[in-house]
């Protein structure tokens, strides 16, 4: 049994942010995550550090939170934030009235803007649709959600926080109507353990009601699936937004070597509903083409979807729901945090930790906005070339990951799946989507005794199926060629079909 003060359930940006916040305030805690870090909406988002401009017309509260957090993240997260800047692009036919409201709201909220002529906008982003009416600059950035979670966790680990990934909460321990702990089950061994704490924080995003209900609580939320597509390379070095009310496919974000385009917004009831429909891909690609015509001839390498946990509202359209957040005290020892954005994860953590401190009768102040994220000194920063320290033993040619990188990561906490290694090294994130390097990475893990051969076969099958799920909606053009090659490698040359 583990005893601690605060149990955090959920290893997304919010949960990891809470772990860092508590660590900096000196509160013992234990974080439990059923998969890997950033496995839910955090890892399935745009990687956009909002300036708030997207929400400024309809949701000024969320916009104000975004711009203030945006400025904080630039300071504290130098190595996981790329200061790309963003543009809102007005195309022929887009409302001029909305544009005026947009500029006025940005000014009121404190989001700095500059109106650019088409030629100046094209100087900044040559791939833009040349028939644009104008563009407005905003302080958008791009952010690496996996890296963000890992850096937050570093602060926790350095101060003795307990981190259990691949552990699922299967029940709560209730005493006299209060929730005093949880039972968790380890994924591969199925071992069940008890963890006891004074306070339990439910930061499970889309799974919020699943966890709250274990302690008899509910959270008022609604789920909305958003799908995205990943391009083979960057089409823009700035975030591109369409200057109109939020709609499908109106954002393109540069992230590492690629661009992410999205999103859609489809109401769902299942937090695991992350299938991408070909029709969604068509919508996103069509809309992205309007802003960046080259998108049409660009290779799409995969798709993914996440489920947004939104605060419940009466309005019918999910896009009208506030992107703000709320802390819910279930009055039984459990707190839930609902809604919000990746951009405001730190603020969300601060608010819920303030509630925790009050309950515990403690007064230490939040310091997460002042101190830089720890662990950044080990990171190389963005340029691909810097990731490559030596030319030896590259196992992933697309993303330049070496055998040493894989070995180093394979030994660390919580890396049991090939996905865990991918998140930490970017192995398999390039055009072949792990087609070549996964065989190698699993081979290295066997060689180093990190995985049995039986496990590796299971992991390989599971990986190929999961990979295919993401790629299937985007199979045409060069990606279809690549896919048939990968199929012939695994099913033909390596003989995996015989497994069945």
């Amino acid at each position: 049994m583990i005893k601690t003060d605060v149990i955090i359930i959920g290893g997304g940006s919010t949960g990891c942010g809470v772990a860092r916040d508590l660590a900096l305030r000196g509160i013992p805690h234990c974080l439990i995550e059923k998969g890997d870090f950033a496995a839910g909406a955090t890892g399935a988002c745009h990687g956009l550090l909002h300036s708030g401009a997207r929400y400024v017309v309809n949701d000024s509260e969320a916009a104000a939170e975004c711009i203030s957090e945006n400025m904080i993240m630039r300071k504290i997260g130098v190595k996981c934030v790329e200061q790309t800047g963003g543009l809102f692009v007005r195309l022929p036919g887009d409302s001029k009235r909305y544009r005026d409201m947009f500029l006025k709201s940005c000014e009121e909220t404190g989001i700095s803007t500059e109106v650019l002529s088409p030629s100046r906008a094209l100087d900044l982003v040559p791939n833009l649709n040349p028939s644009l009416e104008e563009a407005i600059t905003v302080p958008d950035c791009s952010i690496d959600p996996f890296r963000l979670c890992m850096l937050n966790i570093t602060s926790s680990q350095r101060r003795g926080g307990k981190i259990l990934t691949h552990n699922r909460v299967i029940d709560t321990i209730m005493e006299h109507g209060r929730c005093v702990g949880v039972k968790v089950q380890e994924e591969s061994t199925a071992e069940i353990r008890e963890i006891r704490g004074k306070i339990i924080i439910n930061a499970t995003g889309a799974w919020g009601n699943t966890v709250a209900s274990l302690a008899g609580g509910t959270v008022p939320m609604t789920l909305s699936k958003g799908s995205l597509i990943v391009t083979n390379h960057r089409l823009t070095n700035m975030v591109i937004n369409r200057l109109r009310p939020a709609s499908d496919g109106d954002i393109i974000v540069p992230n590492e070597a690629v661009c992410l385009a999205g999103t859609t917004s489809i109401p769902v009831t299942d937090p695991d509903a992350n299938d991408v429909e070909p029709a969604e891909v068509d919508i996103i690609a069509t809309q992205a083409c309007l802003m960046v015509p080259n998108f049409h001839s660009t290779r799409v390498i995969r798709t993914y979807a996440g489920v947004r946990p939104l605060l419940k509202a009466d309005s019918g359209d999910d896009r009208e729901i506030s992107r703000s957040f709320r802390v819910i005290d279930h009055k039984n020892g459990m707190f839930s945090i609902m809604g919000g954005k990746l951009t405001t994860y730190r603020l969300m953590a601060e608010k819920i930790c303030d509630s925790v401190m009050e309950t515990l009768g403690l007064k230490t102040k939040c310091r997460t906005a002042e101190l830089p994220l720890e662990g950044q000194e080990e990171l190389s920063g963005y340029p691909l070339s810097k990731r490559l320290k030596t030319l030896e033993n590259i196992v992933c040619e697309c993303e330049l990951v070496t055998a040493d990188d894989v070995e180093k990561v394979a030994g660390k906490i919580g890396t049991r799946h090939i996905g865990d290694i991918q998140h930490r090294t970017r192995l398999g994130m390039g055009p072949c989507q792990g087609g070549f390097c996964t065989y190698r990475a699993l081979g290295i893990m066997q060689e180093k005794g990190k995985m049995t051969p039986e496990e590796s076969m299971y992991v390989l099958r599971e990986f190929l199926q999961r990979r295919f799920k993401g790629i299937k909606p985007a199979l045409w053009g060069d990606q279809l060629r690549e896919e048939q090659l990968i199929e012939s490698i695994y099913l033909g040359i390596l003989g995996m079909r015989q497994e069945q």
Binding site: E277, P278, A279, D282, A285, E392, N393, I394, V395, A403, F436, Y439, R440, L442, G443, I444, Q446, E447, T452, P453, E454, S456, R461, L464, Q465, R467, F468, K469, K472, L475, W476, G477, L480, R481, Q484, L485, E487, S488, I489, L491, G492, I493, L494, G495, M496, R497, Q498, E499, Q500
Partner: protein, 396 residues
């Protein structure tokens, strides 16, 4: 500047090269145009004919009526495979096996693949997990991990040799130097492997004649075999080099590394194609043309979000429905619908729904070939390549 040929073959893969062999042996003047090295370089070098049953030729009957194999017929498939073997043997790279018997060869994942004819370096490669094998691995070689195999075998062991390089092609190059080969053989002898076969990833030289393989086998006095690795695999490269050399020997003109820039038609006939090159174009004129440009991977077919086009002559293509049905949800499910896409032909391999008279089509670009599902890629390429060439040769 222009060259006139009896037959111009577009595509330098298995189908195109076997079509060229067929026509040149009929005394025709033949050219092969290829954008680049073909996808058989990515293959295991084995000739899959059909993965169903013990006798692949008997299995042909179980294929749907639309399958291109039926246009060839069992007897002619057998003859085409015989022509392939004769061609490879003449070049010193014999293929082993019986066209009436499938075999299961060991893969570098410790599984097996069903195939029919194999290069001599894989004669002893049968998947047989009850018998002892000794796997040789190379230090830090990035495309081979012996644990995948030894864990699957009841009785297996491995030893690691350090060749100083880590890529498949790099190690293969080293094996072509005498001192390296001698060092390796004496190391192998020093292992005193007690019994059974010795398995080595396919790195035993780049050359086609299997010289390195024969010396290693003689040196250790054991049955040795190669295990094909991830692309680019040496047995695939050797197969390509073997066929290409045969074409050169037989006097076929090769236009390699150049795409087709334009097609000239006169009435119902294709007159010539023009090849693009930096600074200069070449016009290649032919009495007849054979399209063997391959499927999607080779670039003979191209898929957009809602259509499939043939990239050289813009022939009408068969498309199995809209994009949402092209692929099944299960990666491992045999036979995604998209595999049926391609060019439909009549009994003499001429494309249907077009008025072109002097064009024949063969290989994986043919509709309904489903080569991944049926595991019939090289076999079907050889059979339809030879058959299309015969149909074409009769018209010249």
């Amino acid at each position: 500047m222009s060259d006139l040929y009896d037959a111009v073959i577009v595509g330098g893969g298995m189908a195109g090269m076997m079509a060229a062999v067929t026509l040149v042996e009929q005394g025709k003047k033949v050219a092969v145009i290829s954008k680049g090295d073909p996808v058989c370089c990515f293959s295991t070098g084995c000739i899959d004919v059909l993965a169903y049953g013990d006798d692949p030729l008997k299995g042909l009957g179980s294929l749907p009526d639309s399958h291109p194999y039926h246009l060839v017929g069992e007897g002619s498939v057998e003859k085409a495979l015989a022509l392939f073997r004769k061609t490879m043997s003449e070049g010193g790279m014999p293929y082993i096996g019986d066209v009436h018997a499938n075999r299961k060869v060991l893969t570098s994942l410790g599984r097996w693949k069903t195939t029919c004819l194999v290069p001599e370096t894989m004669e002893y490669a049968d998947f047989d997990p009850d018998k002892y094998i000794h796997v040789i691995s190379f230090y830090k070689m990035k495309d081979f991990y012996p644990q995948y195999i030894t864990s699957r075998y009841a009785n297996a062991d491995y030893s690691v040799f350090d060749p100083g390089v880590i890529t498949t092609a790099g190690i293969a190059e080293k094996f072509e130097s005498r001192p390296f080969l001698d060092t390796f053989i004496s190391w192998l002898q020093g292992l005193h492997i007690p019994e059974g076969r010795i398995a080595i990833p396919a790195v035993l030289g780049r050359s086609l004649v299997g010289d390195v393989y024969r010396q290693v086998s003689a040196g250790c006095d054991r049955k040795v075999f190669e295990i094909p690795t991830l692309p680019p695999s040496l047995p695939g490269l050797r197969l390509f080099a073997g066929l290409k050399n045969a074409l050169l020997r037989k006097g076929v003109d090769l236009y390699w590394g150049r795409g087709i820039y334009s097609v000239e038609k006169l009435g119902n006939r294709i007159e010539a194609v023009t090849l693009a090159n930096a600074g200069r174009t070449t016009r290649v004129e032919g009495k007849a043309f054979i399209l063997a440009a391959g499927s999607f991977v080779s670039g003979g077919l191209q898929a957009s979000m809602d259509a499939v086009t043939e990239t050289v002559f813009d022939l009408p293509t068969y498309l199995p429905g809209t994009r949402d049905v092209w692929f099944k949800d299960d990666f491992f499910a045999p036979g995604h619908e998209i595999e049926k896409a391609g060019i439909r032909v009549d009994a003499s391999f001429r494309p249907i729904e077009t008025d072109i008279e002097n064009l024949h089509v063969c290989g994986s670009i043919l509709a309904f070939s489903e080569i991944m599902k049926n595991r019939c890629g090289h076999g079907m390429a050889i059979a339809t390549g030879v058959a299309a060439a015969q149909a074409c040769g009769g018209l010249i």
